[in-house]
């Protein structure tokens, strides 16, 4: 998908609009601002005389689209608008009264101008009650430092990692990093997540360039327990070239020591494990820094790789006052979107969903996640401006994307009536390449104001919005008992990691699988990682040898 920068293009004006701008500049727009009426839902209309119904000055019709001339303020209907421009020279540009959209009477088409849009959006901001908690005005630091920081740091390190090629069964045609993990007894939830993380470029680069050095860690902290050290051991083992399945026993022991409530021999949830693991890495590595609540600046590898920022807007539907809060996150949990039914081509909300007829798509789930949600009458929130509880709209969006995006599909539903939960096996279609632009806060807020050409907060962000999938954790079976398998994508070949068994699979198998955790990484990191792995060591004849692998392999 082509990416524009910024995420919209300034369309070329028609001759008439260009002429109008030359002759009148912004004065007409500024005057019009006083006639604009805004609603809390983001609609704009032209309302010059509040008590009168707008009517066409030629036929007195009030139906259909009406246009308000920017020069003489007269109103014409769509039948007579063109006539108006012919009889009055220079009166070519008018404004759709109901929608505040520019209209060229000669071209008979809707036209667009950034200055006009800016005037419209400014009117909205003027009319909106000012944000009392002041969060809105906070200017987010540019992402540049953070994004470049991680990449450059790891690459300029140029630490050469010596890898022993002692094991002849290394089968050097296969990339490194592929090694089965033994199931230690109901531990496929753990194996599946580990396999995904082995191929997360920031994590892989971090551990393979020895950024967590076990010796100095032991010297530095008296605490013998260190999950990152055990993770480092596994990374070394998995990338060593030895292909016999590895038993992550030490890791399990270490993880259990830190997680009281999850330490038991029983079937567990992979997502829970993933969160727990990130948390433990942060506990160990992040603690030594500023106790900053906002994980943006946390230097621990878990947050550097996975931490993003979510924005939540709650808008009062009475006065338009919007309260905005930001929350860091290390993943996004998505509800399955059950609305698209391709056979009928219509949304299928009313009838009981037949699981085979409905296709859920990842984009649909993301749309659902960022859709404005009406908070029902029993969920009225207190509006600071109205000073009472009001009906509101809540909308989520992504303020800052992480480097590695983990999408968690909520494949369970609870029935409070029957007091039970069940797993949703609904198939989810997903793309291999994912553009997250429509779900960014800037896009969502822009959409809320009618997609006006305006630099909304976050537009200046330079973070890459294009992602590539590199690992999928899939689940088969029931809520209480099932099996996890991970598919990883290395140099555009998919491999199935089923505990100790690593096999090659066709991408069709991956597309058809039932995803539970989906790991996407920013495109730049994905392609760089592919390059790194292409410098494959070949085992030379005769005995063991050490081969330096430059960079961060």
């Amino acid at each position: 998908m082509s990416k524009q920068n910024p995420s919209y293009t300034n369309p070329k004006p028609c001759k008439h609009l260009a002429d109008y701008k030359l002759r009148h500049g912004l004065t007409g727009f500024k005057t019009l601002q006083n006639c604009l009426k805004t609603t809390p839902y983001g609609r704009t209309s032209v309302s010059k005389h509040k008590s009168e119904t707008p009517r066409c000055s030629l036929c007195f019709g009030y139906q259909g689209r009406l246009y308000f001339c920017l020069i003489c303020s007269s109103i014409t209907c769509s039948s007579h608008a063109n006539g108006h421009s012919q009889s009055h020279h220079g009166h070519e540009i008018s404004v759709d009264v109901e929608r505040a959209e520019l209209y060229c009477c000669v071209c008979r088409d809707q036209v667009y101008d950034p200055d006009f849009d800016r005037a419209v959006v400014s009117k909205h901001f003027m009319d909106m009650p000012s944000n009392v908690n002041g969060v809105e005005g906070v200017v987010e630091e540019s992402n540049k430092r953070r994004r470049l920081g991680l990449g450059l740091e790891l690459e300029s390190k140029r630490s050469k990692r010596l890898i022993s090629m002692a094991d002849r069964r290394a089968k050097s045609i296969f990339p490194l990093g592929l090694r089965g993990l033994n199931n230690l007894g109901n531990t496929c939830f753990m194996n599946s997540v580990l396999q995904a993380l082995f191929h997360a470029p920031p994590l892989r680069n971090y551990f393979l360039s020895d950024r967590h050095n076990r010796q100095s860690c032991r010297k530095r902290s008296s605490d013998r327990l260190c999950l990152p050290c055990d993770i480092d051991v596994i990374f070394s083992a998995v990338f060593s070239g030895d292909r016999t399945p590895y038993s992550p026993a030490r890791f399990l022991y270490s993880w259990w020591q830190h997680s009281e409530n999850l330490a038991s021999y029983e079937q567990q949830d992979a997502h829970e494990f993933f969160i727990s693991m990130l948390d433990q890495i942060h506990e160990k590595e992040g603690k030594s820094q500023n106790k900053d609540k906002d994980n943006r600046d946390c230097q621990c590898i878990a947050h550097k790789a996975f931490s993003g920022l979510l924005r939540s807007d709650v808008t009062c539907t009475t006065c338009g006052f919007t309260s905005t809060t930001y929350d860091p996150c290390v993943d996004i949990s998505l509800n399955l979107d059950m609305s698209f039914c391709p056979s009928t081509g219509m949304t299928n909300r009313t009838t009981k969903p037949n699981e085979n007829a409905i296709i859920s798509t990842l984009l649909g789930c993301l749309d659902l996640f960022t859709r404005p949600e009406k908070l029902g009458p029993d969920q009225k929130l207190y509006c600071q401006n109205c000073q009472e509880r009001r009906n509101s709209l809540k909308q989520m969006s992504i303020r800052r994307l992480p480097i590695v995006l983990c999408l968690h599909i909520k494949r369970f539903e609870h029935s409070t009536i029957r007091k039970m939960s069940r797993k949703i096996d609904q198939y989810l279609q997903f793309p291999f390449s994912l553009d997250m632009t429509p779900y960014l806060s800037s896009s969502i807020v822009r959409n809320r104001f009618g997609n006006r050409i305006f630099a909304f907060e976050g537009d200046e962000s330079e973070t890459c919005t294009e992602f590539e999938v590199f690992a999928l954790v899939t689940h088969s079976g029931m809520l209480e008992s099932g099996h996890y398998v991970t598919y990883v994508r290395v140099r555009n070949q998919w491999y199935k990691c089923d505990d100790a068994w690593i096999t090659e699979v066709d991408e069709g198998v991956v597309r058809a699988s039932q995803c539970y955790l989906m790991y996407y990484v920013q495109k730049g990191f994905y392609y760089k990682a592919s390059e790194d792995l292409s410098c494959l060591p070949m085992s030379p004849p005769g005995g063991e040898s050490y081969l330096p692998i430059a960079g961060c392999c």
């Binding site: 230690l184 109901n186 038991s264 029983e266």
Partner: protein, 176 residues
């Protein structure tokens, strides 16, 4: 009789208003789409349709029983030419007690060995609070913000390795 006329007129009027409202909504959608297209904000529908088509094809192929190249059986050979027993047979020392344990049975051993797990915990204290804590889903994560409204009993559990599709129920827990 004026009543029927009034009825017809009011139903005509309401149809009229409805028609106007509907027209207005249709124009709204047209105007929005026009803007999205002109500003280049539209999604690449062709790509999306292509992806959908690929997925549908893939599912058909996978569902086809003659296509079981994707062997569920654990008696396959991996890409390195190795085969493995269903229960991992590697033997190593338990880091807690020093005993030699078989990999596939390590977790249950470690659970007892470390004094963790349901049985061990219930033995340790019989108070009801202990049982409550055992099912609590209080997220241990400081960095994770539960921004959604879903309840916390949201997990998918895994089973032991076995032939795919076989449900090995072990250690299931009651619904809270």
């Amino acid at each position: 009789m004026s009543a029927p006329n009034e009825d017809t007129m009011s139903s005509q009027l309401s149809s009229h208003f409805f028609g106007d409202l509907l027209d207005s909504i249709i124009v709204d959608v047209a105007s929005e789409c026009h803007r999205i297209a002109r500003l280049g904000l539209d999604r690449n529908l062709e790509e999306e349709e292509e992806e959908l088509r690929l997925s549908t094809q893939a599912r058909v192929r996978v569902a086809d029983p003659s296509n079981s190249g994707e062997a569920n059986s654990k008696y396959v050979v991996d890409i390195f030419g190795q085969s493995h027993p269903p229960i991992a047979s590697e033997i190593f020392e338990c880091m807690n007690c020093g005993r030699s344990i078989m990999a596939g049975r390590f977790a249950p051993h470690l659970e007892k060995c470390m004094g963790k797990g349901r049985k061990a915990r219930l033995k340790a204290t019989r108070s009801s609070t202990a049982a409550q804590n055992r099912y609590s889903r209080g997220s241990p994560v400081s960095s994770y913000s539960p921004y959604s409204n879903s309840t916390s009993t949201s997990r998918l559990s895994n089973g032991t390795p076995g032939v795919g599709g076989e449900e090995y129920s072990n250690g299931t827990f009651e619904e809270p």
